[in-house]
């Protein structure tokens, strides 16, 4: 057995008391393609941040565990250490300078230089660039990844697929490269480009470079990887060799977890078909950058909790944002049988929708204003409530505002020093409750909630979910919850829509099998089980 190039042993990491990695072991041999798969938040990026010694790790208290590189125990304190060791990274977002040529990008900060008369006097820093040598080096790297493009072409305006390969060329141009990390490299590529990339990865592996391949796409894993590690909630749930496993099993491993239903099964199952449709969405398209919705048709039924799930970037978040008019959208929406005007937030709020944004601090709150103002401001704007009229002037009705704020604080159990406290000073969970309180103040018929538990500690998570269930049961409020966390969708929803590539992959019941969820999330459901749909 050959010596491992990288061994990570018992890696543990905590963020503010929240364990995100629980004893991970990874072992990569030279020339091996090692795939790491897992949902969003499973701990893949944290693991890579540790490998690269990113500042975010050290500024939050470091990590536990040991890293062996080339058989030697190493400490990687900063990304430069990692580079010196020969670890390279192909980024998900391209780290390229658009107005530089390909060669300049590849050789940036590792330029080849030659002496000139100034450098003899003033030293290294003013040496002339040896463009010819740099070009030749770049050519060699580009040839290796199978790119025929001119090495002096400008990066700006190149197709995205090309940029990915330039990134790879840049990494392999480093002479000491021994381990290369691909962070979801195929996310933005077309299928043929992705195949080309996998061929390229295999070629690099043959040269003895160890490769870590992070991805969501399970069929690519099956095509490329020699061994596969599955992460879930910071735990290593499986380590398989290729040939030992298949796509369905991987999907199951990725998603599988004990699900705690917060809602009683019998109640939720009651005659779903008979429920009246409150909103009908036909061919919705939303131009939300990074979360584009391409074509979604969906019926929302009165009194249900509808979950919308899917991986990040697939468009699940765009649906609620589009209906609320925050991003430009096209399509036909019927609300209570009547045509609903898209692209108009104020109309949407007036007609009885409310929205709790996924971007709590950016969109959801006025951080420097008091809690009470945050709670009432939308209904003040939309419904002219909490205002007094004095002659020509409208004035804030402080008494009523205070009364309502206190009522909300009491009902939602918001922990604060008083209704006048600034929202910025509250914890994430309490901030989220204020967002919900504001939405409830509008007395909506449908409440859209996006990522309600993002960035909230576990205790508060359950409180928020309980609150949503309570609203649904006691007030019959229709709730549409978008979340990246399948477990919470499965805990409270009546139906779960899975979005993939901007379209609906399928609609599942919360107690459907883990494999179905996993396959749908990965976008393979149609490929494998076409006849069942």
């Amino acid at each position: 057995m050959s010596e491992s190039i990288l061994e990570m042993k018992d890696i543990e990491k905590e963020y503010f008391g929240n364990k995100v990695l629980k004893g991970i072991n990874i072992n990569v041999k030279p020339g091996e393609i090692h795939a790491i798969v897992g949902e969003n938040g499973a701990g893949k990026s944290t693991l890579m941040n540790i490998l690269f010694g990113m500042p975010v790790i050290h500024s939050t208290g470091g990590f536990k565990g040991e890293i062996y590189f080339n058989g030697k125990k190493t400490e990687i304190k900063c990304p430069k250490d990692a580079m010196n060791l020969g670890i390279g990274m192909v980024h998900q977002e391209f780290m390229l300078l658009p107005s530089f040529t390909i060669t300049e990008n590849i050789k940036l900060n590792r330029e080849k230089t030659k002496n000139n008369f100034l450098s003899k006097i003033m030293g290294e820093k003013v040496k002339t660039l040896d463009m010819k040598a740099m070009g030749a080096d770049s050519r060699k790297s580009l040839d290796k990844v199978g790119m025929t493009i001119d090495e002096w072409a400008m990066v700006e305006g190149l197709p995205v697929g090309y940029m990915q390969f330039i990134e790879i060329a840049r990494e392999i141009d480093k002479s000491n490269i021994k381990l290369l990390v691909f962070d979801e490299p195929t996310a933005v590529l077309t299928e043929s480009e992705a195949e080309h990339l996998i061929d390229c990865m295999k070629k690099l592996a043959e040269e003895g470079i160890g490769i870590i391949f992070i991805t969501h796409r399970l069929d690519e894993v099956m095509m490329a990887a020699d061994s596969i590690t599955v992460l879930r909630d910071g735990e290593m749930v499986a380590n398989k060799k290729r040939g030992e496993t298949n796509v369905v099993e991987l999907a199951e491993l990725m998603v599988g977890r004990k699900i705690e239903r917060l809602v009683n099964k019998n109640e939720s199952a009651e005659n779903e078909e008979q429920k009246e449709t409150i909103m009908e969405i036909k061919n919705l398209k939303v131009l939300m950058p990074g979360e584009e919705v391409k074509d979604v048709s969906l019926n929302i039924k009165r009194g249900e909790i509808l979950g919308i799930g899917g991986l990040a970037g697939q468009g699940k978040i765009g649906i609620a944002n589009g209906i609320m008019g925050l991003y430009e959208s096209k399509g036909e929406v019927l609300f209570k049988g009547k045509a609903f005007k898209l692209n108009n937030t104020s109309e949407a709020l007036k007609s009885g929708l409310a929205f709790v944004s996924e971007d709590r601090r950016g969109v959801g709150l006025l951080l420097d204003k008091s809690m009470e103002l945050n709670i009432v401001i939308s209904s003040m704007q939309i419904k002219n409530e909490y205002l007094k009229k004095i002659g020509f002037f409208t004035q804030m009705d402080s008494k009523n505002i205070r009364k309502h704020a206190l009522k909300m604080i009491n009902e939602l159990d918001i922990r604060c020093r008083g209704p006048q406290q600034k929202v910025r000073q509250l914890s994430g969970g309490n901030q989220q409750k204020i967002c919900i309180a504001r939405a409830l103040t509008l007395k909506p018929e449908i409440l859209f909630v996006s990522e309600p538990t993002r960035g909230i500690d576990i205790g508060a998570k359950k409180l928020i979910l309980d609150l949503l269930v309570k609203l649904n049961k006691e007030q019959g409020m229709t709730i549409v919850m978008t979340s990246s966390e399948l477990s919470e969708l499965r805990a409270i929803s009546d139906r779960i829509v899975i979005i993939s590539k901007g379209k609906i992959e399928g609609i599942l019941k919360p107690d459907d099998s883990d494999a179905d969820f996993g396959l749908m999330m990965a976008g393979h459901y149609h490929k494998i089980q076409k006849e069942e749909l």
């Binding site: 103002l373 704007q381 205002l387 409208t394």
Partner: protein, 348 residues
């Protein structure tokens, strides 16, 4: 010590230096036996005189367009209104209020146009505003030559155009100052002037608690939030700019009646800076301002000027040192506040 630290945090180091400087000046004034009562009357008078121009900063800051460095635009509108009141040969309160009445719709219209421009340059409102103000003043230099006025009080006796300074002493100079004014000991209180400022502040306070005021606050604090609550952010910003321009117009008329002259041509160019410095000294930042900041800031800033001038003249006989000290203080404060505006987010 804890209390002291809290105070330090709330006021900020720069503001504490200003206050200490002010106190030091007061002590010095006593030591070198300057007439305190005269200095105090002067300070109060100038507070009333500048107050509305400083108040004009509030709607701009609240609506999220930052400090309105483009206030000279409003000032020009006020000057035009003022000149027409003289052209109609009006005196006393009639003259004053006619000037205000003419300048308000004019400022609202011009402010609307200026607001449209500001909405197109989100993120660099303050810089664009500064240069917008400069260009408006320069453009108006041509305007003053071309607008046909016939009153001999306004026109140059020979040739075309308007005089550089136009005296109000026979029309409505000090009408507000002398309205119900009285003396407490040696200190003179210009009741009408102060009252007029307070009434304007009261209107602003009421406005900020109305629906449009609250939505404006939301739009200024977090535009994305405002959009998500169905608030038209651009409209709020437009309203803020219009209000600011109108207050600038009214402010210069109040200033001129107290000063006794309308100053035309280049003089509005730098009028925005003392107003900006005042509200910042008062405790406002580029995204939050209160009425109390206006009053406290104007008093402190004008107090500094009034005190520093005779004291430095007393200590250093030659040169114009007091003026230099004033410029260092007022521009230093602006600089401090603007750097804080950029770095504030990192501190979160």
């Amino acid at each position: 010590m804890k209390k002291f630290n809290k105070l330090l945090n709330r006021l900020g180091i720069a503001r504490i230096i200003i206050i200490l400087f002010f106190i030091a000046l007061c002590i010095l004034a006593v030591v070198i036996k300057l007439p305190i009562s005269m200095l105090l009357s002067e300070t109060i008078m100038r507070t009333g005189m500048y107050g509305i121009l400083v108040l004009a900063m509030v709607p701009g800051i609240i609506s999220g367009t930052g400090l309105n460095f483009g206030i000279p635009i409003g000032i020009i509108c006020g000057l035009v209104g003022g000149l027409y009141s003289i052209e109609f040969n009006l005196n006393g309160f009639t003259g004053f209020f006619t000037a205000v009445a003419i300048s308000i719709p004019l400022a609202a219209a011009i402010g609307y146009g200026y607001g449209l421009l500001i909405n197109k340059v989100k993120g660099s409102e303050m810089m664009v505003g500064t240069y917008m103000g400069f260009s408006a003043v320069s453009l108006m230099c041509i305007g003053w030559l071309l607008i046909p006025f016939n009153s001999p009080a306004i026109k140059w006796p020979i040739g075309k155009g308007v005089r550089v300074t136009i005296s109000l002493s026979e029309r409505y100079a000090k009408v507000l100052n002398n309205f119900m004014n009285f003396k407490i000991g040696e200190v003179e209180i210009p009741t009408g002037l102060i009252l007029f400022l307070f009434i304007n502040c009261l209107f602003m306070w009421i406005f900020l608690r109305s629906k449009s005021g609250v939505t404006m606050k939301a739009a200024g604090d977090n535009p994305k939030f405002a959009e998500a609550s169905g608030i038209n952010v651009d409209k709020c910003r437009l309203r803020g700019i219009i209000l600011s321009t109108v207050l600038g117009a009214v402010g210069i008329i109040v200033y001129a009646q107290s000063y006794g002259f309308y100053q035309l041509y280049q003089s509005p160019m730098m009028m925005g800076f003392p107003a900006v410095a005042s509200i910042l000294i008062g405790g406002a930042s580029t995204n939050d301002a209160k009425i109390s900041h206006v009053l406290v800031g104007t008093f402190l800033f004008q107090g500094l000027l009034v005190m520093a001038l005779p004291i430095t003249n007393e200590i250093v006989k030659e040169g114009d040192l007091s003026e230099i000290v004033r410029i260092i203080v007022s521009n230093g404060i602006i600089l401090y506040a603007l750097t804080k505006a950029g770095g504030g987010e990192e501190c979160e």
